[in-house]
């Protein structure tokens, strides 16, 4: 990155309100963690709704969750876990100045996220075919228990908002691939990769909780 004059003292990415690159990186990461806590609280609102209804109607929730295919949910869990691995590896390679592997791992992460969304697409359309729609449109003959619609409303909203987060992550990581190809990242500055990686891990963690609560129990 050096051009011959005072490069370590003032690298081009260092903004003027920070003293060192290190401080700037730490501030960026801390800001990201603060944002991630708001994301966790966002999903916790929905987890609380799930818990309230589950405590009120445990047998309905148990019966309704059997209508969700745990093999698809389990497969999606493995897909997202693998995508967390590849995004962590992408950061590792950014830190090692290995641009090729950085890009490769980011691309694989996006592809895995795409696989997740495709599976969710098939899950949703299968539900619609059986008349299972969110909220007032619930029209299933497979499960006509009182409060079954509540389970599926919560299912659609939670996986839907999670799905939106996956799509946002796919867009962000595609943008990172674009930037990486243009040589924007190096071991001295890879902050957007780091921050997007952190975001992606939270998306994975939300699913780690969603999967057992919706599909398994």
């Amino acid at each position: 990155m050096g051009s011959g004059h005072a490069e370590p003292a003032h690298p081009s990415h260092l903004q003027h309100h920070f003293v060192t690159s290190e401080q700037q990186f730490d501030a960026a990461k801390m800001g990201m963690w603060l944002f991630l806590v708001t994301e966790i609280l966002l999903f916790s609102g929905m987890f609380v709704a799930y818990t309230v209804y589950r405590v009120w109607h445990p047998e309905v929730f148990q019966a309704a969750s059997k209508l969700l295919d745990w093999r698809l949910g389990g497969f999606n869990t493995l897909v997202l876990l693998a995508s967390s691995l590849t995004v962590a590896m992408a950061i590792h390679f950014a830190q090692k100045d290995n641009r090729k592997m950085l890009i490769t791992n980011l691309v694989i992460t996006v592809l895995l996220a795409g696989v997740f969304m495709v599976v969710k697409y098939f899950e949703y359309t299968s539900k619609f075919e059986h008349g299972i729609f969110p909220g007032a449109h619930y029209a299933s003959h497979d499960l006509e228990m009182l409060y079954a619609p509540q389970f599926f409303s919560i299912y659609f909203i939670m996986t839907g908002i999670h799905g939106v987060h996956v799509l946002v992550g796919m867009f962000l990581m595609s943008w990172l691939v674009f930037r990486a190809m243009r040589g924007h990242f190096s071991s001295s500055w890879y902050t957007p990769v780091e921050l997007t990686g952190l975001y992606w891990h939270i998306v994975d963690i939300i699913w780690i909780f969603l999967f057992p609560l919706m599909y398994l129990i």
């Binding site: 962590a88 001295s188 129990i217």
Partner: protein
């Protein structure tokens, strides 16, 4: 952590082997949670076990993949405080919703009126049960 060049001032690099080991652990826990949920009946403990395993998986992701183990302590504090607030949120909501109706009389009559009505019917009748 080389000092010879400007790059990577002390950023901890997580070794690939560790990342792969953590991934292996996560896959194992996923398989374990599916097997215990689908094929083992522990009654109400199925839910507890599933949540405990999920917390372990999330812990692995946060500690290793997200690097909190080697990061500035303030980030771990921020995350921990966030989790505490989630628990507060959940606990106090359940304190309300899970115990509704336990204070039984929510009818239109006052307690006095209801007592007098019951005594009118049968002097020896026990108080209304919920």
């Amino acid at each position: 952590m080389a000092h010879a060049h400007a790059a990577n001032h002390g950023h901890h690099i997580i070794p690939l082997k560790l990342l792969l080991s953590v991934f292996g652990g996560l896959v194992f826990l996923t398989i374990f949670t599916v097997l215990t949920a689908e094929f083992v009946d522990l009654g109400p403990f199925n839910i507890v076990l599933a949540i405990v395993i999920a917390i372990m998986k999330a812990g692995l992701v946060v500690t290793f993949f997200m690097g909190l183990k080697w990061d500035n302590r303030v980030n771990a504090l921020i995350f921990a405080v966030g989790c505490i607030f989630v628990i507060v949120f959940l606990t106090f909501t359940i304190f309300d919703t899970a115990f509704r109706g336990d204070i039984g009389n929510v009818g239109k009559q006052t307690i006095e009126e209801e007592r007098r009505a019951l005594e009118g019917v049968d002097e020896a009748a026990p108080p209304a049960a919920h």
